[in-house]
Point group: C2
Chain length 108, copies 2
């Protein structure tokens, strides 16, 4: 019952727990990205982008490097992508099941 380990794990999961950050990580799965690209791609304001990126940084989910005036972001751990994929599958299947159940009710 290493309570403390779960606290660490929870801190990481909290950092994942926002649709914007999930989208950011999904984009990073395809490769390195400049901070400046998230705003236009996701329709977010600059400060909002920076705040979400800060959350990901503090959770060590991403790495950064400077390239002149820009800051480039990458996934810190390739297993993160794996986790996101699996979560996506579970969510999709849940949705499919719910839809099927609805159809069942509708068609009696």
């Amino acid at each position: 019952m290493e309570e403390e380990g779960y606290r660490l794990q929870a801190r990481m999961v909290k950092a994942l727990a926002h649709s914007t950050r999930l989208q950011m990580l999904a984009l990073l799965q395809k490769g390195e990205l400049c901070a400046c690209e998230f705003g236009p791609l996701l329709g977010l304001r600059q400060s909002n982008v920076s705040q979400h990126l800060a959350v990901l940084r503090k959770a060590n989910l991403v790495n950064t490097r400077r390239d002149g005036v820009r800051v480039m972001y990458t996934l810190a751990d390739e297993r993160t992508g794996e986790v996101l994929d699996t979560l996506g599958h579970i969510a999709r299947d849940q949705f499919a099941e719910a839809a099927a159940a609805l159809r069942e009710v509708a068609t009696g």
Copy 2:
């Protein structure tokens, strides 16, 4: 850019984002459990247990069945366990890396 899919995924991840719920799911990985067992095992009050279980239920992360006066809980999707394991590994490795970095600084 299926924004909506990420919203669903985020809802699920939010349900995972608490150390108590992570512990509950870890317990369920070992098999079915009665609601009444979480309190004593995790040192939580009854209402708190029930609230956390409600979060897991609403996110379809667990299934329930009644057995008389008790309610038995199981993991809804075995892939959830897989996700939790991977997240645990990532968190542990992060911690190890941080510790190593600290040692480096200390021994300079």
